[in-house]
């Protein structure tokens, strides 16, 4: 399609920025009214606008691993409400086996009407602070099936023709550990979709039937932007296998296999040969795997491409049912984030041959979760909870970053001083590990070390770490990163712990965790001597 004439250019551009503004506003409205730090500080949410038939036209602020979430949720809503939602309705869902991703992520959708005619949907997905289940916060890796993970909500009306549905509130409140926080955050989601539908209706009122055409143009634009990128990528078939070391229950590696087919009319990801679904709850829904594919493409494109149904029409994902990348009922999915990481790294590994000047080597492989919970002598419960990460793989043009979050979990750490103030722990080190980056013309990012001592008499340590057997890969002759390590120090004795574990610890025990480091890129002999000297002067590389 080509556009010409000032009016059509302006119509298109105005609609495009107005949609972006609506999506921004929905995100701001959500952050403004939400209570839990998961939404306000960790930004674990996404907003979107869809056509009446469910196709997504625009996303606001979005977590990369939410990119494919909304289309599947809209399918489920429209399956449950085949006539579409009525004016004044608001629907929600979280069931991974009916449009959801994992139980803490609640989707909320509302229809926009203009003059009695449906013009689209506003959708918000947000991670709730709790959803019941056997572990607070609802993302334990060692659940064995969905029934252990909390409250399942199939597509339901939470507001019907403008009237709240009291049963939904009662059931939700009765099943979560933080009923006020969860209910407040759900109200924030509803405020956000209400704002989105109001703005969408205003757009429709100004444009009349022109809106539908305009939105189709926006979809076409998303598709053209992606195809223009794919046009520059060499056509071909590229394969790779990466693995997660452990599912939290069965002690065997979990392979992720991908075959990527790049062509000028689209890109196809086939995960045949990936592990069957596993007993531990690291399995993904197909929507999560799709999200990881969209995110990888979007990042490798290197441009600010809008991800909408037009973009998605050029991406095909085939994930075998019953596999770890498309789990079947009733597999546990609470801790699926780690497989999302591995899917992206498998795709990068495959496409490194197609795009050698763009694709980075593998990084630390995901955020290490170190949680210590228990009861103090005075009966108060405590929960120390931190994530440790920060090593990027080397890029074909630059070293991997030291101490930076990555795409799949771009979140903030918790200050040491707040942990020590609020939890019975003392932290002895939070630092980069000198000389740990994978060798190469460009080196991998340095591993990050965190050393934690328990000050309470007793505690339960829950470890969720990655890459402690399979090192992050290097590319183009670059060396691999180092594997992660966790040590328990008790009475002067050091004992290495497995990647995922739950064990009892006591006062004075020290947990010494080092993440994996990033893989290198290019032959180490080609490293710029000035860069090497700088690293040595900075204590980032070992002295000769």
């Amino acid at each position: 399609m080509t556009r010409s004439g000032l009016d059509s250019v302006l119509e298109f551009e105005t609609l495009r920025s107005e949609l972006q503004a609506v999506a921004d506003e929905m995100s701001i409205a959500l952050m403004r009214s939400s209570f839990s730090p998961v939404i306000r500080d960790f930004l674990d949410f996404s907003t979107a606008l869809c056509l009446p038939d469910g196709r997504m036209v625009s996303q606001g602020f979005s977590l990369p691993l939410h990119l494919g979430a909304v289309p599947r949720a809209m399918e489920a809503f429209l399956w449950a409400f085949p006539e579409g939602l009525a004016e004044g309705d608001v629907a929600l869902l979280n069931d991974p086996y009916a449009g959801g991703m994992h139980l803490p992520d609640i989707f909320v959708a509302a229809p926009a009407y203009c003059g009695g005619r449906p013009v689209g949907y506003a959708v918000v997905v947000a991670h709730q602070a709790d959803i019941g289940g056997r572990v607070p916060g609802g993302s334990a890796a060692d659940n064995r099936e969905i029934f252990e993970e909390g409250l399942r909500l199939p597509p339901l009306l939470v507001r019907s023709a403008g009237q709240p549905v009291p049963a939904v509130e009662a059931i939700l409140r009765a099943n979560v550990r933080l009923p006020d926080v969860v209910w407040q955050d759900l109200q924030a989601q509803i405020a956000s979709v209400d704002l989105g539908t109001r703005r969408l209706a205003e757009l429709a009122a100004r444009r009349g039937t022109g809106l539908q055409h305009g939105l189709e143009d926006i979809l076409g634009y998303g598709r053209r932007r992606l195809l223009a990128v794919l046009d520059d990528w060499p056509a071909g078939i590229y394969e790779f296998e990466d693995r997660e070391d452990h599912d939290g229950i069965a002690d065997r590696p979990v392979p992720i296999r991908v075959r990527v087919q790049v062509g000028s009319s689209g890109i196809l990801f086939d995960f045949a040969g990936s592990s069957p679904q596993v007993p531990g709850s690291i399995n993904c829904t197909s929507s999560f795997t799709e999200s990881a594919c969209y995110a990888a493409v979007r990042a490798l494109a290197g441009e600010d491409i809008p991800v909408n149904a037009g973009f998605m029409s050029a991406v095909t994902v085939s994930a075998p049912p019953g596999s770890v990348v498309n789990a079947s009922f009733p597999a546990g999915v609470a801790a699926r984030g780690v497989i999302g990481y591995r899917v992206i790294e498998a795709i990068y590994g495959a496409l490194s041959r197609a795009l050698p000047a763009r694709v980075p080597a593998a990084g630390d492989g995901g955020t290490s979760g170190i949680r210590i919970g228990g009861t103090l002598p005075d009966g108060r419960r405590y929960q120390y909870n931190d994530i440790v990460c920060g090593a990027w793989g080397a890029r074909p043009y630059a070293d991997g970053l030291d101490g930076a979050a990555g795409m799949a979990a771009n979140i903030a750490n918790r200050p040491v001083e707040l942990s020590e103030r609020d939890d019975p722990v003392r932290i002895h080190a939070y630092e980069l590990v000198s000389g740990s980056g994978g060798e190469g013309q460009f080196r991998g990012g340095l591993a990050v070390r965190r050393v934690v001592e328990l000050l309470a008499p007793h505690g339960t340590l829950n470890l969720r770490t990655h890459r402690n057997l399979t090192a992050p890969y290097g590319l183009a002759g670059g060396g691999p990163g180092r594997v992660s390590e966790t040590w328990l120090i008790r009475g002067g004795q050091r004992r290495r712990l497995p990647a995922k574990a739950t064990l009892e610890i006591r006062r004075g025990d020290v947990i010494d965790h080092v993440t994996a480091s990033g893989g290198g890129f290019g032959e180490p002999a080609l490293r710029d001597p000035a860069a090497l000297n700088e690293d040595r002067a900075e204590g980032k590389a070992d002295k000769p």
Partner: protein, 677 residues
């Protein structure tokens, strides 16, 4: 020295230095002179001398100053090597930061290098517990060789920031005292001297920025004083703070971190004062400059403050909420939303036929294509020139060489041709898409307050603000625009209006309860005494920042003297929380910190009349609105006496106000230009 009543303001930006000199009667001279990035003080000295001589006056009582010198030193990392002493095991806190990156998809992201090299981040064996108990005193003997080595390598300024020092700074003080005793010529900043608050990264980063800037700002203020002396206009200097208010130069030398980002603060505060004078309840200040546009809510004449800002972070309508990137400073700053759309923003057509404006900018060099300094890519300013909105004669008179044909060529090649438009149509499209970009910033700040933009008044300023204000207002349903006098250099005006101000912040971190009130009152009184000692005779404001327990966002509640009951503070907090966030949770309320400000208001000088009047350089010029060219009358602000209908151009020395068809323009008695439709 007896006061002459003459005051001078100088706002230094990367491209231009804006100078105003004003006498006690309100007669003024305003100048825009090119900045001299290699020696900013030279541009100021020259501008100040010229302004004063045109006003027929000798040196003023003081020079009120906003400067980008500190910001630039950080962005360019042109400061000298700086050191950091921190607790053993934590030297990388400064580098790891809070982990988040600004754009999740950016595989090519480069982290801003820490202001202190890793080899100059020295660890000392010491420990304070979270409760304040000293577990181990600092082992200074062990630290000495590393410090001596760093000094030998040229480190002249150190930050000292130890873990948990917010709970008990004694170890931090001990290290600082030892450092000064060992190397008396070092300058030393302790983290807790600026901010005694939990959060090791933010406190350390703020201290490091301060330590890094000390040599920079001291050198600069020395050179500025010498320059003023040699231009025969010696004056005491006061510097604008990011949190508002002017700080005497000597205080700025002690803690330069307070004077980062001072220009935007002065502009927003000037807009707030105009809203107060006009009795406007709901206004949005809109400042469009060369590289970005900024929006700021002005609520009943007051701007909002955030508790933290970053220098050099990525700019977008959402970036302030999403965070990540840049250099963090945990100090109050005016809460602005910023988008990458300014006069110099580059315009291009993407592979799928989308028209993109910004965020990349042509900057000061080469600048827009029409400046003829080697820029070949079209910018928003090029589009405005093609549309006739900018005066070629006016720009040339201001010392800018202008080549309209370069603007047309750039737009033709990079916008018009790919979109199948004429050059004029392409220019119109660029103007409108820029408006849409800026609308995102306006919507961001109002949506945060749960408000709709319609019904707000837009207060427009900055070099390009009045060019876009009316069309931008049209695109978001705003019907009233105020363009203040000297809108193109409003930050300099804001300096004239700013109070001399010092403030103190202390962490509290306790629940708001009736039995805690006496302790709070004692703290506030102690802080009052301390600020009054620094600024005798000043009026004092007391503010408590409060939050629901577990929430990261605080609200500032002003508290009267004597202290009200805890229940009435609680009710006020809940009311404000409901107003800001749409709800009030049933959780305990915590007082996070206390802030006390002492302010000596500026002399109430109104801008009466320019000392030198001028006529517009042309009676009319061709301008394009809604697809048609017509001859548009051009006037100077000083010529406008009655209500006039658009289309109309009002050319001032520093900017042009564009009045489109369907809009009316009139002047109020304070010299503001009020546009309505």
């Amino acid at each position: 020295m007896t006061a002459s009543g003459i005051r001078v303001a100088a706002d230094v930006g990367g491209t231009f230095t804006d100078v105003i000199a004003i006498d006690a009667a309100g007669h003024y001279v305003a100048l825009k002179v090119p900045s001299v990035p290699a020696a900013y003080e030279a541009g100021i000295g020259d501008g100040v001398r010229r302004a004063l001589s045109q006003l027929g006056a000798g040196p003023g009582d003081d020079l009120l100053h906003a400067t980008t010198v500190a910001t630039n030193a950080i962005l360019e990392r042109s400061g000298r090597p700086t050191g950091l002493i921190t607790t053993c095991g934590f030297r990388d806190v400064l580098e790891i930061g809070r982990l988040r990156i600004p754009d999740s998809y950016d595989l090519a992201y480069r982290k801003p290098p820490p202001l202190v090299a890793r080899r100059h981040r020295l660890e000392v064996t010491e420990r304070t517990a979270a409760g304040g108990e000293v577990l181990a005193a600092p082992d200074l003997e062990d630290l000495a060789p590393a410090v001596d080595a760093a000094v030998a390598e040229g480190v002249r300024s150190f930050a000292v920031s130890l873990l948990n020092s917010y709970a008990n700074p004694s170890n931090e003080h001990a290290v600082a005292a030892w450092l000064i005793a060992r190397h008396p010529r070092l300058s030393v900043t302790t983290g807790t001297a600026i901010l005694r608050e939990a959060g090791e990264f933010e406190r350390t980063s703020t201290a490091v920025v301060d330590a890094y800037l000390k040599p920079v700002l001291n050198g600069y203020l020395d050179r500025l004083a010498a320059e003023l002396e040699s231009q025969k206009v010696p004056m005491p200097v006061m510097v604008m703070q990011s949190g508002g208010g002017l700080l005497p130069a000597d205080d700025a030398r002690d803690h330069p971190v307070h004077v980062l980002e001072s220009g935007p603060a002065a502009g927003a505060l000037a807009a707030a004062r105009i809203a107060q004078e006009l009795g406007i309840k709901n206004a949005v200040a809109f400042d469009m400059g060369g590289t970005t546009a900024k929006a700021c809510m002005v609520d009943a004449g007051k701007v909002g403050f955030g508790s933290e800002f970053t220098v050099g972070a990525e700019v977008s309508a959402m970036s302030r909420l999403l965070r990540g990137g840049g250099y963090t400073v945990r100090l109050p700053a005016i809460d602005l939303a910023e988008v990458g759309a300014g006069g110099g923003s580059l315009v291009r057509v993407d592979a799928a036929g989308g028209l993109q404006v910004g965020p990349q900018s042509a900057g000061a060099d080469p600048g827009p294509a029409c400046y003829g300094r080697g820029g070949t890519h079209p910018t928003v300013t090029d589009a405005n020139l093609v549309l006739g909105h900018l005066s070629v004669a006016g720009l040339r008179a201001g010392g800018v060489s202008v080549h309209p044909e370069n603007a047309a060529t750039a737009l033709q090649l990079e916008v018009a041709r790919p979109l199948g438009l004429s050059v004029e149509e392409a220019a119109e499209a660029v103007h409108q898409v820029a408006d849409q970009q800026m609308a995102r910033a306006l919507r961001a700040v109002t949506t945060e307050r749960g408000r709709d933009l319609a019904g707000h008044v837009l207060i427009a300023f900055g070099g390009s603000g009045p060019v876009h204000a009316a069309s931008l207002a049209d695109s978001v349903g705003i019907r009233t625009v105020v363009v203040p006098p000297l809108a193109g250099i409003l930050s300099a005006v804001g300096l004239l209006w700013s109070a001399r101000e010092v403030w103190l912040v202390e962490p509290v971190g306790s629940a708001l309860r009736s039995d805690g009130m006496p302790a709070l009152e004692t703290l506030l009184r102690d802080m009052q005494d301390r600020v009054r000692r620094r600024l005798p005779g000043a009026g004092v404001r007391r503010v408590l920042e409060m939050a629901f327990r577990g929430q990261a966002h605080e609200l500032a509640i002003e508290v009267a003297d004597p202290m009200p009951e805890s229940t009435s503070l609680m009710a006020e907090f809940e009311r404000r929380h409901r107003e800001f966030y749409g709800h009030a949770a049933a959780a305990a309320v915590e007082v996070v910190r206390a802030r006390v400000a002492a302010a000596l208001p500026a002399p109430a000088t109104a801008l009466r009349a320019p000392a030198i009047k001028g006529r517009a350089l042309e009676a009319n010029r061709q301008g394009r609105f809604q697809g048609a060219w017509c001859s548009i009358p051009v006037i100077r602000r000083s010529e406008a006496t009655s209500r006039r209908a658009g289309p109309l151009y009002i050319d001032d020395v520093e900017t042009t106000t564009v009045v489109p068809p369907d809009w009316w323009a009139e002047f109020d008695e304070l010299g503001n230009l009020v546009l309505t439709r």
